[in-house]
Symmetry: C2
Subunit: 151 residues, 2 copies
């Protein structure tokens, strides 16, 4: 019985060790996925921005939902930058794959600031949201400056 | 004082009454957003499918995360089908806007089945996940058959 049980455990270990890129059948699928994640993240982050900048009235519940969605999205794109995914119509600069430590640091910074924005949104305090929104936007921009092609 | 206070309340009421499409600056933004949401939803739903169909080993924690993301995505696209958003490169059929009750029912059915899949994923029981995955996939297909152009 012990021997039979070991097989699925070994397989599960192998799955955990698979590179994230293996979640995509083709490199183009990874590109499409990460672009979609950024689109959804930007839409909801932008809605918080509209409140922060006074373009639309502050709605604490909406801001909380938007921050929650943007935070979930912030965790997703970086599994889709595996080796071999610098293909097709991408805004990714090649240094993503040659300077991975710096890219990962920039990505992590954005995720950390977004998590703080999410926490701020839960307080319902617009001033806290403004501060966290600014810091998150700065983290987005810093990563884009270094790792995204100018459009 | 009473008079001054009434103004922001009236504005807030107006914002709540605004159509969901007003969350997008251009109709094309709504199209891009809903397509991105479906891309993210399909990617994570598909990963559960790979486990259900035995193409990859079952990983209960991964299935739970995938179901959580797919469920959050399932709530989002339908704010982006406002009047005037049948534009550009879209797979949406025109009857989305002429048979809205049926479209809403199909969308709601998918959301309900996805929520059940999310609940099943939390149990960690693959058989329950399989059943819920099948029902969710059927709800996706039913809506696509009626409201998405054949590719």
């Amino acid at each position: 019985m012990k021997r039979l049980l070991l097989i699925p455990i070994a397989l599960a270990g192998l799955a955990a060790a698979l590179p994230a890129a293996a979640q995509f059948q083709k490199p183009e699928d990874a590109v499409k996925y990460r672009q979609a994640v950024y689109t959804v993240m930007a839409a909801h982050f932008g809605r918080i921005g509209a409140m922060v900048n006074g373009r639309v009235p502050f709605d604490a519940a909406a801001a909380q939902t938007d921050a929650e969605i943007a935070t979930m999205m912030s965790k997703l794109p970086f599994t889709a930058f595996g080796q071999g995914t610098n293909v097709g119509k991408t805004g990714a600069k090649p240094n993503i794959w040659t300077d991975q430590a710096k890219f990962t640091a920039a990505a992590t910074k954005m995720q950390d600031e977004m998590a703080k924005l999410n926490a701020a949104a839960k307080t319902g305090n617009l001033e806290q949201i403004k501060t966290a929104f600014g810091a998150t936007g700065a983290a987005c921009k810093a990563c884009h400056d270094d790792f995204r092609k100018k459009l």
